[in-house]
Structures are given as structure tokens and as C-alpha cells.
Amino acid sequence: MKSWLLPLLLVAALIAAWQLATSTGAIADALDLEDFLVPSPLEIAESLWQNRSLLAENAWVTLREILFGFGCALVAGLGFAVLLHLSETLRRASYPLLIASQTVPIIVIAPILVVWFGYGIVPKLAIVALVCFFPIAVNTLDGLRSVDPEAIKLMRTLDASRAQTLRRVEAPAALPFAFSGAKIAIAIAPIGAVFAEWAGSSSGLGHMILQDGAQLETARQFAAVAVLSAIALALFGLLALAQRRVVSWR
């Protein structure tokens, strides 16, 4: 059986159950709500089609925030991991700071960044990069340190410089770890982007979700969430594909 068949069946079954529960009015009745507040999958699909250009426009804004933020985190995370790996002092000094960076609630820091940098893309980049940085840096660092110490000794007797050992032994060994970190990062990046847009923006899927919620446009709100999920899934899939091509020895 194909690996995608089971999850596909499950999703189809869930959508079917949802369709049944909403079209009969069961959920709305149970919650004592108006029917339009509990849209069925078909209504969401309809809204998705009707609002396609609006959704595409806003999706493009959010996708850019995710990609640029993730890109910044990738460069910074990989660079930081290598630096910490090469310097014991730096590692000991900054590891607690690295972990502390993860405990800063983005829900608090997002409005502050908006005050500092305005409504443009910069605070969004910063938030997305902040949530992506940690998994990339920590996983890559673990990967660099996973190398068998005997292999390092071996490279020394084979006349390798520190840089050559890093390039030929430690970096390839760390690659699968770095990919794991990047996959975690890309899966949570959309959440970061939505939080950043909530803190202050005039466009993007997060902005749309917030507006539609206030205007009781529930079907379109769900459509925006569906697009956001699709973006996350697609980016995750691309990374998994890249991992399989690059890490060919596993």
C-alpha cells in the first residue's frame, strides 16, 4: 500500500463526517448557533473558489514572510551551530542564552517588534526567524557533535586540517540533523507568521483570519486556514524531498 493512501483515507473520512454533521445542522443545533457560523466543507470549498484572488494575494504575503524568515533562520542557525561547535568557550557561554531565546513568548514580543519596526515585513521576518532559529541551531549543533571521536583522530593522522575535518566529516554527518531541525522549523513558521500579522499588519492570511473572525465570515476564515495549512504541508514536503536527494547515503 502506498504511504499516502492511509492519511488520505483518514482525511477524506473526517471531511465526510464533518460534511454530514454540518449539513444536517447537528453541530449548530448542539451549540445553539446560527448555521452560517459552522460552515460545511462544501461551503468552505465554495468560499475558497469565490475568494481565490483575495486568498492568493494574502497567501503570497504570508508565504514571503515565511520564506524570508526561514531563510534568515537557516543562515543564522547553521552559522551559529558551526561557531558553537568550533569554540568550547562560546558554546558554554551562549548555550543558556540559546535556550532562553526559545522561552520568550512571541505573543509578547510580536507587538513590541511592531512598535519598533512598523507594519512592514521586518517584524514578521524577525518573528518567523525567531521561532525557526532554535530547532535549526540546536539540531545542527547536535549533529556536528554526533561524530565518532575516533573519526576525528583518524582525520588528524590523515593530515586533515580543522576546516577539512569539518567539511569532509562533521558537516556531512550533521546534514540529516540539520534537515530534521529545518523540517520542524518550517512546520511552525506559519504559526509565527500568523502571530506576527495579528500583532499588526494590513495584509496576509493571519490578517485575513483575524478580520473574517470579526466580520463573522466563518467560511472564508476556514478557507484561509486551509490555505495556510496547505502552504505548511507543501514546504515540509519540499524539504523532505530535498533531504532524500541530498542525504543519499541513508
Binding site: 575516533e150 573519526a151 583518524l154 582525520m155 588528524r156 593522522t157 593530515d159 577539512q164 569532509r168 556531512p172
Partner: protein, 253 residues
């Protein structure tokens, strides 16, 4: 590439409180093969790392071809670890040519230089194979070639065939004997297999449990004889092997 002599005087070494080596004196002539046998955990691997210059000795001196300091010795010795440690992201020939790449050769140049010995080692057709596609014996041959292509006069082999099954192991011993015959180097061979050490070496030093001292030094009757089976069943060989076993049993008490 000729070998170089090794001269070890009053060598002692500790890791913190733990003394691993206790006054070892050892002379290995150029192109000689010395076997080191001893109970596991006795400090054999530490001794190899000291000789190679991967460690600085706590006390005493080690001289390899005139090189005294650890970084200098590192330039004279190549190390073959217990597990082959072939890099899974490189092909077999790129693994073998690793030292050439480290010394600045381009990929194509390194491959070209490694091609002839690669064939000579019976690995033809497996140049592009990844390590996991090779058999245990072939992996060991690639690992030995990697050590040899470092061009170092002294080879430090740490239980090179410990992971192989008995038959492959006997074949590899015969193969290594032939390889050293056509490409002689000074070799320090650590083994826990007395028969392997006595067959491959000119002399075998028996080490005590930690802290390691040399308790017996034996001359091998038929070092690297072309017919291994005949050599190891010869009465002279069997007698020396029993002597070595006896010495090992004595120190284990």
C-alpha cells in the same frame, strides 16, 4: 616509501588518577612489524595513540624516525582504527584517497592516484560503490588502503580484523602479509588474537593488564609466510603461540 624506526624509552601515561601505561621500552627497526597483544582494556590503544602523536606521553620519550614531539610524530604515522570508519557519504575510492584530498589534491587527481593500488587490492569495479555496499573484508581493504595512501612510513593498526568472521579474517591476514611484502612499512599491530599477531609480526610483545608493561617479547618463526595455514600449524609456531598464551595467562592472574 621506506619505513622508519621507532624507539620508546621509559614510557608512562595516566588519564588523571588512572595509570594506563607503566614504563614501556620498545624498539622497532625500520620496516619491522611489531605485534602488541594483551588483555582487553590494558592500554594497547592508548599506546598506539601515543606513538601516532595523537596524545602526549605523561613520562618518557617516543621517537619515530627522529620525530620527538607529538605534532611531529603525527606527520610520520597513519592510524587504522578498530572499526573501519569509512565515510558513508563518499564512494570507496574517495574514502581510500582521503589523505590525498587532505593534502590538497583535487578529486579527479586523487582518484587517478588511488586507481592503481585500488585495483591491486582486488577492489576493481567497486570504485563508485558506497561503503555499505561492500563486504566486511572489502571495507577493511579500503580502510587499509586509506592508511597506506597517507604515504606515512609508520602504520598503526588497531585490531584491524576484529570485526570479521574467522574465514574472512584468515584470508585478510594472508592478504595483509602480501600487501606488506610488496609495500613494506614499519607497522605497530595491536591484536587480541595471538595467532594473528604471531603470523603478521616479526616480534610480539605481550602486555600486562593495566597499567600496561611488557611481560614477554617473542620472535615469530614465520613472519608473513605466503602459506598462512602451513605457517600457523608448524610445530615451531605452535610452540611460540603456547609460550605467548602462557605469558598472557600468567599476567591475567
Amino acid at each position: 616509501m621506506p619505513g622508519e624506526s621507532i624507539s620508546i624509552r621509559e614510557l608512562a601515561h595516566s588519564f588523571g588518577e588512572l595509570q594506563t601505561i607503566d614504563r614501556i621500552d620498545l624498539e622497532v627497526p625500520s620496516e619491522g612489524v611489531i605485534g602488541l597483544v594483551g588483555p582487553s582494556g590494558c592500554g594497547k590503544s592508548t599506546l598506539l595513540e601515543l606513538i601516532c602523536g595523537l596524545l602526549d606521553p605523561g613520562d618518557g620519550s617516543i621517537e619515530v624516525g627522529g620525530a620527538r614531539s607529538a605534532p611531529e610524530r603525527l606527520g610520520h604515522c597513519a592510524f587504522m582504527p578498530q572499526r573501519d570508519l569509512l565515510l558513508p557519504w563518499y564512494s570507496a575510492i574517495d574514502n581510500a584517497a582521503l589523505a590525498l584530498r587532505n593534502r590538497g589534491a583535487g578529486r579527479a587527481e586523487a582518484r587517478a592516484q588511488a586507481a592503481e593500488p585500488f585495483r591491486r587490492f582486488g577492489l576493481e569495479g567497486f570504485e563508485r560503490a558506497r561503503p555499505h555496499q561492500l563486504s566486511g573484508g572489502m571495507r577493511q581493504r579500503v580502510a587499509f588502503l586509506r592508511t597506506l595512501l597517507s604515504g606515512k612510513p609508520v602504520l598503526a593498526l588497531d585490531e584491524p580484523f576484529a570485526s570479521l568472521d574467522a574465514i574472512t579474517r584468515a584470508e585478510m591476514q594472508e592478504w595483509l602479509a602480501a600487501a606488506l611484502g610488496s609495500d613494506p612499512r614499519t607497522v605497530v599491530l595491536v591484536s587480541h588474537d595471538v595467532e594473528e599477531a604471531l603470523y603478521l609480526s616479526d616480534r610480539v610483545a605481550v602486555l600486562s593488564p593495566r597499567p600496561a608493561r611488557i611481560v614477554a617479547e617473542l620472535s615469530a618463526p614465520h613472519p608473513r609466510a605466503p602459506d598462512r595455514d602451513a605457517a600457523v600449524t608448524d610445530p615451531a609456531f605452535v610452540a611460540i603461540r603456547e609460550q605467548a598464551m602462557h605469558a598472557l595467562r600468567e599476567v591475567a592472574r
